[in-house]
């Protein structure tokens, strides 16, 4: 057994009340910090999910695709509802105007105005690039909550971030097998992410540049994705005129609407 710390003895001798106050302060500090430390990955992801996946959302998007020295800009409007219903219509450039995407559950349909054809895409094709960007069809249209499809584990934390490792839950069909997320403590938004495939290879890297408070949620309004399988390539996505939980008709997410000219 060690000796009693001299500071306590001194306090006790000098002022009993002061000693009690010091002990209470220490207990309070430990309680508060303990509460923060004790936040589980599940709770953190719940907060992230709340921010990122409202019941419905609509916005105008601008995709800036960087390929070496070349840069392409594409614009679209997006409506999304629930976990797996989304509708995207491209408005710019002229070549892509009228190209529409409809995601419903695990299927995705693309309508091409140049040939008035609708194509169905599913399975591994959902991992393909959307409109030549570094964002896959799945990245853009899948709105499943992290907590439902990933098992989180706290890797580390500092004064500003939690670093979580997310592993796909058994039986779930997640876009990536493993993700590392740097989550901002202040507002529970993702600041940075690394996405890995089954092989352990890093497939994509995410950097969030801007977050906007809309109502009681912090919504990412500008981010950048680097496709690690493509050299010298990244895509920026800027979201404007964001509406959280707008009323969107079910008829928006139908093939009839997709093929409407």
């Amino acid at each position: 057994m060690g000796k009693t710390p001299s500071i306590f003895i001194e306090c006790f001798e000098k002022n009993y009340l002061s000693f009690i106050r010091s002990v209470c302060s220490l207990v309070l500090v430990f309680t508060v910090t303990g509460a923060v430390f004790s936040m589980s990955p599940e709770e953190i992801l719940n907060r992230v999910d709340y921010n990122m996946t409202p019941d419905s959302v609509s916005y105008e998007g601008e995709m800036i695709i960087h390929r070496g020295k070349r840069e392409h800009t594409k614009k679209f409007i997006m409506d999304a509802m629930g976990a797996e219903k989304s509708f995207i219509e491209f408005t710019y450039p002229a070549r892509d105007r009228g190209t529409k995407y409809l995601r419903n559950n695990k299927n995705l349909w693309i309508y091409m105005p140049s040939t008035s054809r609708t194509l169905k895409i599913s399975g591994h094709m959902l991992k393909e690039s959307m409109m030549g960007s570094d964002i896959s069809y799945d990245d853009q249209t899948d709105r499943n909550k992290y907590n439902l499809i990933y098992e989180g584990e706290m890797l580390s934390e500092d004064s500003e971030h939690y670093v979580l490792e997310l592993i796909r839950r058994d039986g779930e069909e997640a876009k990536y097998y493993r993700q590392l997320l740097w989550i901002v403590k202040e507002n529970f938004t993702i600041q940075r992410g690394e996405m890995y495939g089954n092989s352990g290879k890093m497939l994509k890297e995410l950097f969030v540049d801007e977050v906007e408070k809309i109502g009681d949620r912090y919504y990412i309004t500008r981010f950048r994705i680097d496709d690690k399988l493509k050299a010298d390539s990244y895509t920026e996505l800027i979201m404007r005129d964001i509406k959280i939980d707008p009323r969107i008709s079910e008829s928006t997410f139908t093939l009839k609407n997709l093929e409407r000219r």
Partner: protein
């Protein structure tokens, strides 16, 4: 002349034996002539036809060979820049830009995977579409498509039908355009018939490749590929890959391997013909050992007997080899005109070369001369080797056939 007359008389004396010996020589030389013509035809098929499709000199990006296997059009070059650089080449060269890509051809609810190529007008004759189009016509507008026979059959297409081509642009974005079928072509390689052609301008729009091509080909009638390659390398620098036709894909392998294979076949055919002729001549001399003894007993000198038999061998060799070359050459020339269709059998090898699956045997002066020489030399040599030991024996031994 006297000895020649005796030799001819000797040959006529036993017509059956002479005929059989001649037949052996004719068959051996015929086989050799035709076999070598066949090999020459194969060489022509693999190399010359491949050369037509790859150009005498081809310009691409440095990673094109690897990326083109998956029909990845992101490996492309600046068309205007290369075209301008090629202006420095001799005027008698033909130059074309092409875009090779993969896609889906849609007709109604049906679709088929297919290889597409964006081509310039002058490619009609270079590729040979002026001969292969059997219905309709070549491309005249950017919204037209020329479809291979297999695709036509699978999708049940007609001239004038509007089909859709779906493909991935150079940035991996899906895009599709509608085209009106202008005609159908049929090549001898069935795999080639599962492809389609559109204009280069249309392919550039479809694939979002303004002023880009996947390959730029240069054709020359003169054998100055090295000169052209050097000029283009100097003009374009390290960003581009300039290759001679025999440095491209399977052309490279074939141009290296085929001469070796040809050499092996020459050896095999020459040996087979030589051994057959030698065997026949040996048997002929062996049968006439008694005759050699009688001639010696009658006072004929060893040298004269040897010369007589060599003359007989030479007459047989010349006439047999001549007839053999004529017979083998006739077959080779005939099949060289009509071709021997291997269709699907050669498909696996030739699809990469983009060439036909028909072999046209090719009779050359070299093959004719070589066959005649083999027939003549082996006949004389075999006769000499068979006769020499016999003429050196005592006449009595010859007559007792010892």
């Amino acid at each position: 002349m006297k000895l020649f007359g005796v030799a001819v008389r000797n040959l006529k004396r036993n017509k059956k034996r002479t005929f059989l010996t001649l037949v052996i020589i004719v068959v051996a030389i015929m086989g050799m002539t035709f076999g070598l013509s066949w090999i020459e035809g194969e060489k022509e098929l693999f190399l010359e036809s491949g050369k037509r499709m790859t150009g005498d000199v081809r310009i691409t990006t440095t990673d094109y060979d690897l990326r083109s296997r998956s029909l990845d059009v992101s490996s492309n070059i600046n068309y205007s820049k290369v075209k301008m650089s090629a202006e420095k080449l001799p005027q008698d060269t033909a130059r074309v830009g092409r875009i090779k890509f993969g896609g889906l051809l849609y007709w109604g609810d049906e679709s088929e995977k297919a290889h597409g190529t964006g081509i310039e007008g002058r490619d009609e004759r270079i590729i040979g579409l002026d001969k292969f189009v059997y219905k309709g016509r070549f491309l005249e507008a950017d919204d037209e498509i020329l479809v291979g026979e297999t695709l036509k059959r699978k999708l049940n297409l007609k001239v004038g039908d509007e089909v859709s081509v779906l493909t991935q642009t150079q940035d991996k974005s899906l895009y599709s355009l509608n085209y009106r079928v202008s005609g159908f072509y049929k090549m001898d390689n069935t795999k080639l018939n599962k492809s389609f052609y559109i204009t280069l301008a249309s392919a550039q729009y479809l694939l979002d490749m303004e002023d880009r091509v996947t390959e730029y080909l240069i054709y020359t009638d003169k054998n100055n590929e090295d000169g052209i390659k050097n000029i283009m390398e100097g003009e374009l620098g390290d960003e581009y890959l300039v290759k001679r036709w025999d440095e491209i894909g399977m052309n490279e392998n074939f141009s290296r391997v085929l001469p070796v294979i040809q050499g092996i076949f020459i050896l095999i055919f020459s040996t087979l013909a030589g051994v057959s002729i030698s065997n026949t001549m040996l048997m002929m001399v062996f049968e006439r050992r008694h005759e050699i003894g009688v001639l010696k007993a009658l006072g004929m000198k060893e040298g004269e007997i040897r010369r007589l038999f060599l003359l007989e061998g030479m007459i047989m060799g010349v006439s047999g080899a001549g007839l053999g070359v004529a017979a083998g050459g006739t077959i080779a020339l005939y099949l060289g005109r009509v071709g021997v269709n291997f269709g699907d059998m050669l498909e696996a090898f030739t699809s990469e070369l983009n060439i036909k699956g028909i072999i046209y045997p090719r009779l050359t002066l070299y093959i004719t001369g070589l066959s005649l020489l083999v027939g003549l030399i082996t006949s004389i040599l075999a006769t000499y080797l068979a006769v020499s030991p016999e003429v050196e024996k005592e006449a009595a031994h010859n007559m007792r056939s010892e």
